[in-house]
C-alpha cells in the first residue's frame, strides 16, 4: 500500500509544488522540455536540410536508416558522441573547451520567451524581444573564443570575419524589428502576436520583413552569408579544430539558432500562432518550418558573398533602407494616431 502512495504522481507533484513553488517548477519542467525539444528539432532540421538539398540537386538525400532516412541524423549524432575529443596541443585550453558550451547557452535562453501558443510559453517577459537579441550577441563571443583559442590561422580568420559580420548585421536586424515594435507598442512576444489581430505585420512591413530575414540568415551564418566557415576558403572556419561532440554542439547551436530566428520572424511578421482551424502551436510550427525551408532553399541556390561585399551590403543597402523604413513607420503611426 505504501509503495502505491509513493508512486502516485499527484502526491509527488503536490510535494514538489509545496517544496519549490509552482513557478519554479514550471520553469524547470519547461527547461527540460526545451532541452529535449532542441535536440529533436535539430535532428529534424538536419534531416530536412539534407532532404531539401538532395531534391534540389536531383538526388534523394538520406534514405537508408529508418523510413525516408529520418533516423540518419540520430545515427550521425551517435557517431559524433562516440568520437574522440581531440584537443590540439597549442590551444588555450579553457577557452577552447568553454566555447562550444557557451555557444549553446544563449540558444536555450531564447526558448523561454518564444510564444508557441496562446498559453504555451515558459515566461512571457515584457522585454522578451530584447532578451532574445541580447543573448544572441553571446553567440559571437563564443565564436571568437573558439576561433582564437584554436590557434589555427583558418579558425582565426573565420572568427574575425564572424565578429565583423555579426556586428554589422545586428543593426538592420534590430532596426527592422524596431519598426514592428513601433506598430505594436510592446516588446513582449505575446503582446506582438496579440497586436497582429486580423492582419499580419508582414503586410504592413514587407520591407522590414525581408530585411529581417536577410539579417537573420547572416546572423545564423547561413549561406550566402556563411563566410565565417566558408568551406572552400577557410576549410571549416572557426570550428576547424573541433571534433566529436564539441563540433556537434556548434552544429546543434547553428540549427537551433535557425529555429529561433525563424520563430522570431514568425512572431514579428507572420502572426505568431494565429491561424484558422488548427490550434496555435501547430500554426506556429508550420510557419517556422516554412521559413526555415526558405532559408535552406536560399542556401542551396546562391553563391557566397565576399567578405567586404558582405559588409558593403549591410552598410550601404540594408541599414539605410531599414532606417528609412523605420522613419516612414514612425511618421505614419504619428499621423494616423
Amino acid at each position: 500500500m505504501n509503495t502505491g502512495i509513493l508512486l502516485d504522481l499527484r502526491v509527488i507533484w503536490d510535494g514538489l509544488v509545496r517544496f519549490f513553488g509552482l513557478d519554479a517548477l514550471i520553469l524547470v519542467i519547461g527547461l527540460l522540455v526545451v532541452l529535449i525539444w532542441v535536440q529533436v528539432n535539430a535532428l529534424f532540421l538536419v534531416w530536412l536540410e539534407r532532404k531539401v538539398a538532395g531534391h534540389i540537386q536531383l538526388r534523394i538525400g538520406p534514405k537508408e536508416v529508418g523510413p525516408f532516412g529520418i533516423l540518419q541524423t540520430i545515427v550521425d549524432g551517435i557517431k559524433l558522441v562516440a568520437k574522440e575529443l581531440i584537443t590540439p596541443q597549442p590551444v588555450s585550453w579553457l577557452l577552447f573547451v568553454l566555447s562550444p558550451i557557451l555557444v549553446f547557452t544563449p540558444v536555450l535562453v531564447a526558448f523561454v520567451v518564444l510564444p508557441f501558443g496562446p498559453h504555451l510559453v515558459i515566461r512571457d517577459i515584457n522585454v522578451g524581444l530584447m532578451l532574445i537579441f541580447a543573448f544572441a550577441g553571446i553567440n559571437v563571443l563564443s565564436i571568437l573564443m573558439g576561433g582564437w583559442a584554436s590557434n589555427n590561422k583558418y579558425a582565426l580568420l573565420g572568427a574575425i570575419r564572424s565578429v565583423a559580420q555579426n556586428v554589422a548585421y545586428e543593426i538592420p536586424l534590430l532596426l527592422s524589428a524596431m519598426s514592428v515594435v513601433l506598430m505594436s507598442g510592446t516588446l513582449s512576444m505575446q503582446g506582438i502576436v496579440q497586436a497582429q489581430e486580423g492582419v499580419w505585420f508582414i503586410f504592413y512591413q514587407p520591407v522590414a520583413g525581408l530585411l529581417y530575414l536577410i539579417g537573420a540568415t547572416a546572423e545564423t551564418n547561413r549561406a550566402p552569408f556563411d563566410i565565417p566557415e566558408a568551406e572552400s576558403e577557410l576549410v571549416a572556419g572557426f570550428h576547424t579544430e573541433y571534433s566529436g561532440m564539441r563540433f556537434g554542439l556548434f552544429f546543434l547551436a547553428e540549427y537551433t539558432n535557425m529555429f529561433i530566428v525563424a520563430a522570431v520572424a514568425t512572431t514579428l511578421f507572420f502572426g505568431g500562432w494565429r491561424g484558422p482551424f488548427l490550434p496555435g502551436p501547430w500554426w506556429f510550427l508550420i510557419k517556422v518550418y516554412i521559413l526555415i525551408f526558405v532559408v535552406m532553399w536560399v542556401r542551396w541556390t546562391l553563391p557566397r558573398l565576399r567578405f567586404d561585399q558582405l559588409m558593403n551590403f549591410a552598410w550601404k543597402y540594408m541599414i539605410p533602407i531599414a532606417l528609412l523604413n523605420l522613419l516612414a513607420t514612425a511618421l505614419v503611426i504619428k499621423l494616423v494616431r
Binding site: 572552400s232 576558403e233 557566397r304
Partner: protein, 370 residues
Amino acid sequence: MLRKTLTEDSFYLNLGPQHPSTHGVLHLLLKLDGERILECKPLVGYSHRAHEHMGQNRTYLQFLPNTSRMDYLGGLCYNHAYCLAVEKACGIQAPERARYIRTICAELNRISSHLLWFGAYLMDLGAFTPFLYAFDDREDILAILGEITGSRLTYSYCRFGGVSRDLNQNFRDGVKAFIPKLRKRLKDYRTLVTKNVIFLNRTKGIGVVSPEQARDWALTGPNLRACGVAYDIRRAEPYSVYPEMEFEIPTATGGDCYDRYWVRMAEMEQSLRIVEQALGRLPDGPVKTAGVPQWLEPPAGDYHFSYESPRGHLGIYFVSDGGRVPLRMKWRTPSFNNLSILSEILPGTLVADTIAILGSIDVVIPEIDR
C-alpha cells in the same frame, strides 16, 4: 606558431596541399596581411609520377595508356594529341571516319571537362547546387563515351592510325539526345549563375590579366582568350578535321574571372556545334588503318605537335633515334603556365578572391606535375 607571427605585420598561410579548394594537391604559400595577400608562391610537384620519363622507357604504344592519366579530365584529348603526334612522325594517316570519330569524342571530352570546371568553380564560390547539375550533364557524356571506349575516365581509345572501336547506335542516340538537353541546361545555368548578382560581384574585375601579361606568362586556352587574344590551335595550326568545321572562337576583353567563365561557357556551345556537324557528316569506311606495325619506329629526328586541350596549348615533343623507344619525351602541359601567373595577379587580393582566381584558371594538378 601563431602567437609568434601575430606580433609581426604579416604571416604565412599554407593554403594546401590539403585544402578543400586546391583541386588536388596544390600548395600555395601565401603571405598575408590580415586577409590581404602580399605574396603568393605556388608549390607544385606533389603528384609527380614521372610520366615523361616513363615515356622514354617504353615503346610508343605502351606509353598510350599514360597519356589519359596526365590530365584526367581531358583524357581523350591527350590520347588524341599523342596519336596525332606519333602519326605525324611516322607518316601514318588515319582513315577519314576515324578522324571524325576522334574529333567528336575529343569535343565531348572538352565539354565534360568544362562542365566539371563549371561545377567545381561554383563550389569554390560557395554555391553547391550547380556542381551537381554539372555532374548530371557530365554523367551523360561519360555514359556516351563509355559506350564506345569502354571506360569513363582514362579512355585509351585512340590508336596509331585510327580508333579502337567503331561507333554504335547507342552512341549516336546518346549524342543526339544529349545536344538539345545540354543546350537547355546551359540556359538554366545562365539564369542560375551567369546573371546572378552575387556571382557577378564575386567575379567581375577580379584577377584581371592584361593581354601583355598573358603573353609574358604564356597563358593559353580559355585563359588567354578571355584577355581578348583569339588564339586557338584548332584554328592557328589546324589538325584532324577542324578545318572543315564551322565554329567560332569565343573571346572576351576584360581578362577577369567572369570573362574566363564566360569564354568556357561559350566554348561549350561551340563544341556542341562541332559535335553536331561532325556527326552529321560522318563518312563510312574503316576506323583503323591496316598494316600499322605494332612497334613503331619513327625515323630519327625531333618531332613536335601542338594540340588545343580543354585547358590550352598542349605541346608534345619527342626525339627519336630510329628505335622503338623515344630518346627523349617532353610534354608542355597548359596548366603549368596558366598556374604560374598566380604569383603575378594574386598580390593585393583577398583570400576569398584567391579561391575565385585559382578556380577560374582551371588547373588540373596531376597535369602540372605529370
